[in-house]
């Protein structure tokens, strides 16, 4: 694999990995070159990001994981974004957590985090304080983790009469059974066979 190809692949993989980053081992596995090549590629990528003023992203190594981040130089701009708290970039997490709780309730925080792949303590706390989500019980087993579910206020907020009014998820649509088919088929074929 030539160097350009390698670099573009490392960049793309780190990009989709986002905040989670990737280890050299993972990169090696997906790009299928030697770990040595990956390491060389990572350090070249790093110096390119650093040297090029046009770039707003940098490569950060944290506990064996490589991760793309923004450069400290652009912090002033990111601050402007943070000062505008209704921005979708900032609120996407809350909506995502709410969606998970609405569809998978009752659900523990650990399960929410497992689905999202990131810590979700703060969005959950915020949703509870806004009364869209509430404690609905405790999970069985050790720890007896809190189970969360949606509230009346949630229904109110989204203009729903009951939680059943939520549009179903794709897999739920799939599961609607075709049981009557057989019965019908028999009748249908009988009819045809008679003709």
């Amino acid at each position: 694999m030539n160097s350009n190809k390698l670099l573009s692949r490392i960049e793309a993989l780190l990009f989709v990995a986002g905040d989670e980053g990737m280890t050299v081992k993972q990169l090696t596995q997906y790009i299928e070159v030697e770990p040595m090549d990956i390491e060389a590629g990572l350090s070249e990528l790093q110096s390119q990001y650093n040297d090029d003023e046009k770039r707003g992203i940098a490569l950060k190594q944290l506990a064996g994981t490589y991760q793309l981040t923004t450069k400290p130089e652009v912090n002033d701009t990111l601050k402007k974004l943070i000062e505008n708290p209704t921005n979708q970039v900032l609120t996407a997490a809350s909506l995502e957590v709410l969606a998970i709780i609405a569809y998978k309730q009752p659900i523990t925080r650990a399960e929410v985090e497992n689905i999202r792949g990131v810590k979700s303590e703060r969005p959950i706390a915020k949703l509870v304080s806004r009364a869209l989500v509430q404690e609905v019980g405790r999970a069985e087993g050790t720890g007896r983790a809190i189970l969360y579910g949606t509230t009346k206020e949630f229904l109110n907020y989204f203009g729903l009469k009951s939680i059943k009014e939520l549009p179903p998820l794709p897999e739920e649509v799939d599961q609607e059974d075709d049981q009557p088919t057989d019965l019908f088929l028999t009748k249908f074929q009988e009819t045809f066979n008679q003709n």
Binding site: Q29, P85, L90, E96, A99
Partner: protein
Amino acid sequence: MSYEVKLDAFSGPLDLLLHLIHRLEIDIYDIPMSELTEQYIDHIHAMQTLELNEASEYLVMAATLLAIKSRMLIPINEGEIDTAELEVDEADPREELVARLIEYKKYKEAAVQLQELETERGHVFTKAPSDLSEFIPDEQMVLFDQNVNVYDMLSAFQKLMRRKQLRKPLSTRVARQEISVKDQMRSVVKILKNSGGRVMFTQLFEADDKPMLVLTFLTLLELMKRQIVVVEQQNNFDDLSVLLQKEDIEDEFEQIIE
């Protein structure tokens, strides 16, 4: 006649009709009704699995075809009706059906275009928004915009599921990740190439987790079946050797899965 027709292949009676028109090389503006009706009914007979919802639609269409056919069979004596009158008063009984077929065909083709876009888009990936919450003071954190609705929530969920697809193998439990036979075929062949086309059977089974061992074994069977490798044993109780027979296996992969 007892050939089996998969209903799944058609998305409805109009789709089946278009298929027949195409296969019989019929001019859609001049449909021979007897032939088409006969073929259509044959197909319905042959359909082994018909879903409750759809069956009635197929039957209604069969009835429609028969009705059109019979209307066209009503004999017309040339003396009685002159053609000028006919042109004005009497519509072709097929007209409505043809119009429906043409309208439907338009969207069927549009669906193909959408599918191409879907595939193209499937080649491109994005990332989750970065988590900036640590920079935001608690009191400043807002949930979301006031005019968020149920569909926004659903779409947030969809986005999540799409990302999750990519994230699953990224989790720390790399060992549990599933590798396909196809992937494993590649790596077995690679090992063979790197060691001059011949390795000891046991060398291929150095991994210590069970699923991996099973996978490698299945892979070897597959490679043997495809005559990409042969396994030989010189003497009783000797170790088995695996020999590479075919260097280029890329076209073999074409036939698998995809």
